[in-house]
């Protein structure tokens, strides 16, 4: 299901109340002209799954955090945020998953420069 990012937190909270209490994961794909961030949720009682997609503009990539509704989203948000250069707004902590990484480049985006020296990528 495709939705706008402004509706994301509210929509996921609504789904959680309907029974989709388990967050399977969060991932993203860089389709060059747009980024797609995907949230997988599951209803354990009914054994059904659903996913929510949000399209983002690569130059203005941010989404609101969903950690108030899904505690388990914390590490997934950290990972997808730093790997794709997506800003996750409203998080309590902004510690990166990779400690030494300065978080400026987005390695899983398609325009990532492989040949850049390692020294310029760390703090």
């Amino acid at each position: 299901m495709k939705i706008e990012r402004v509706d994301l937190a509210a929509r996921l909270n609504e789904m959680r109340k309907q029974g989709y209490t388990y967050l399977v994961g969060i991932t993203a794909v860089d389709y060059v002209n747009h980024l797609e961030i995907i949230y997988f949720v599951r209803d354990l009682a009914k054994n059904t799954e659903d996913s929510i997609n949000v399209d983002l503009d690569p130059s203005d990539a941010w989404v609101p955090t969903i950690t108030p509704h899904f505690k388990s989203a914390d590490w997934y948000e950290r990972e997808v945020g730093e790997m794709f250069g997506i800003e996750i707004r409203g998080r309590r902590t902004d510690r990166l998953l990779l400690e030494k990484w300065n978080g400026k480049a987005a390695p899983l985006r398609k325009n990532f420069n492989w040949n850049e020296p390692y020294e310029t990528m760390i703090d």
């Binding site: 388990y22 994961g25 794909v29 354990l44 590490w75 400690e99």
Partner: protein
């Protein structure tokens, strides 16, 4: 007054390169902060630049305790993307190999868990000896002890060798006896039991909220196992039963894993008896490049450590994007919540009971 201590990244009980920053007050843990990323190899980026079959060894090294499970999940995702059907015999052979891999992985866990709890090296040696017997049997199918790279599109590289069934049955009978022996030995051992009983409690609601998976989730009373809820291969036909307990502590997680070994033994035995005739061989690599049928494939598998999800966006020659949702990542992210307020020594009992492999946490 709290003291901050650093544990790891190189420490025998952190099972790899995991660094823990622990705030302790006396003997009580106030907070745990896992620092990961020290084994990050950028596998998700590397696979985008290599042909489908070239990625197999990368996938196997994600979880170096259960490599075959990852290879299978990856190959399944590619099969789904290319619209390739798995041969009837290969379905059963893969089930056999996956469950053997699970037994090997759980045995390794048992050995290191006993080590973490102060049962130095007795159980460790026993479990490793038995794990090696399983690995030696799996070696017959591919020539490699751990990193088989034996999965091929639609089947396997080699069929089972002559006499494999008999040797496997023999091993299963032996393992059944051994599991009984371990349970007898460990469950009558007050040190082993008391260090796990009531430690690291995680009730059903919290387990779901924290997103733990696999045996940890099932030990908290949640009946979810991909093999029964979303069956693949021969699990449905063989009547797979998920092992669910409701204790929620470390001892229950131990119990669930031991029951899973027993269930795996049963599944392997029945799969061998029901093994269909015919060929189990997969496609040679040069024929594997076909038209992409499904741009996006999502494949879920129950690994020894929990649920793995492969999210593959396919290009004709190589993956456009491959995301691996690894079970250890999900379980480790819950550590700081589970371990809050425990005793310092119990921290390692809890960490051990989560059964993490850093290779798949960092990827």
């Amino acid at each position: 007054m709290s003291t901050r201590i650093n544990i790891g990244p190189v420490h025998p009980s952190t099972h790899g390169v995991l660094r823990l920053l622990v705030d302790i007050d006396g003997d009580r843990v106030e907070s745990v902060e896992p620092h990961v990323g020290l084994l990050h190899r950028g596998v998700e980026k590397l696979v985008e630049n290599r042909a489908y079959m070239q990625n197999m060894p990368y996938m196997e090294k994600l979880d170096y305790v259960a490599p075959l499970s990852y290879a299978e999940a990856y190959v399944s995702a590619v099969e789904h993307a290319l619209g390739i059907e798995v041969k009837a015999r290969a379905v059963y052979v893969r089930t056999v190999l996956l469950e053997l891999q699970r037994i090997a992985s759980h045995l390794l866990w048992l050995g290191v868990m006993a080590n973490d709890l102060g049962q130095f090296y007795t159980v460790f040696m026993w479990a490793f000896r038995d794990r090696d017997k399983v690995l030696r049997l799996m070696e017959e199918t591919s020539g490699a002890r751990m990193f088989h790279v034996s999965m091929r599109l639609g089947g396997l590289q080699h069929d089972l060798p002559k006499g494999f069934e008999d040797r496997c049955h023999e091993l299963l009978t032996y393992l059944e006896k051994q599991v009984d022996k371990y349970r007898n030995f460990l469950e009558k051992n007050s040190v082993f039991v008391e260090r796990m009983q009531g430690v690291g409690l995680l009730d059903k609601e919290r387990a779901i909220a924290l997103g733990v998976t696999g045996p940890v989730l099932r030990a908290s009373g949640v009946n979810y196992d991909v093999r029964s809820n979303n069956p693949y291969y021969a699990y449905d036909a063989l009547g797979f039963e998920p092992q669910v307990r409701s204790g929620g502590d470390c001892l229950t997680r131990y119990d669930v894993r031991m029951m899973e070994i027993e269930e795996s033994i049963r599944i392997v035995r029945e799969a061998l008896n029901a093994l269909p005739e015919g060929s189990a061989l997969g496609m040679p690599i040069r024929f594997a490049l076909q038209a992409v049928q499904e741009r996006v494939s999502v494949v879920k598998r129950e690994m020894p450590r929990g649920e793995c999800m492969m999210y593959l966006v396919a290009d004709p020659q190589q993956p456009y994007r491959l995301h691996v949702r690894s079970p250890s990542f999900a379980n480790l992210s819950a550590l700081s919540e589970i371990a809050k307020g425990c005793k310092t020594a119990d921290l390692f009992a809890i960490l051990g009971s989560l059964d993490i492999v850093m290779g798949e946490v960092d990827r």
